[in-house]
Symmetry: C2
Subunit: 179 residues, 2 copies
Amino acid sequence: MQLATRRAYAGKVVRVDVDTVRFPDGSTGDLELIRHPGAAAVIPCASDPAGGDPTILMIRQFRHAAGGPLWEIPAGTLAPGEAPEACAHRELREETGVTAERIERLTSILTTPGFTDEVIHLFWAQGLTRGAAARERDEFIEVVPQPLSGVLAGIRSGEVRDAKTIVAILYMAGFILGL
Amino acid sequence: MQLATRRAYAGKVVRVDVDTVRFPDGSTGDLELIRHPGAAAVIPCASDPAGGDPTILMIRQFRHAAGGPLWEIPAGTLAPGEAPEACAHRELREETGVTAERIERLTSILTTPGFTDEVIHLFWAQGLTRGAAARERDEFIEVVPQPLSGVLAGIRSGEVRDAKTIVAILYMAGFILGL
């Protein structure tokens, strides 16, 4: 149970709170927590998944945190008041230029609950129509269509390293496609 | 490419740097990054996985970030100079009381590369021997043995929400056990 909180740092993106918490044994202590508004990520399925090996629009994105480009699926932070599914539609459009007819929820994850409350809601999109991307100034993104089998091979080999991307792809492949 | 860095916040656990970065197009900008020393997480397999549905020692841990308990696998931050595999052995022992004969690497993930460089190295452990746990003062952990099929059902239903746990279990189940 949270007894008190103070904002210890407020940057452009990152906000750190120090919360005073009552633990399950009744003792109390201070915990640092990065407050995050939540995010949505979406697998763009460019062909019928019933075919067995659908084409995924993967993105290759420059990430300073990784010291270079990462394989990811489109994703972004929820705008104030924005529903996760609306965010998935918007980020898909902005990052790949694609509009989706249908978006279905897969699951939601806590990315790293030891120090942040960030939740990412995971979706997959079908019925895609191409348009123009509208990236933010500091987004460097290349769209790379790949068969699902190729993405799974990249996860197996360790080339795909982004947690939300691995969870979304393995969840879809395992539980929806029954691979 | 990183051109400069300044420490914007240094707490007990969390350190925020503001890095000046040259982007792929030659422009520059400031990016906030939570610096993390890295971590290891390990699936404790309490019975022979070749049997088809091995018993996993899951942990149920109080997480302030989640507002309650979460289903997880044992994990923790690398000590200075500690190898990921040694950290996996240590955290397994401290959080569950179990010693492992063999620990094998599954893969490594970036938990949320939009704002932290945290990498978690994922392992699975076999040949377990029971001993006494040695938890830290603010760790509230219950060890709950479960069949792998039960953990997979929890992932499917959304009851298991921790990203590192989902990646480790689906990776092991999909790629090693061939489910």
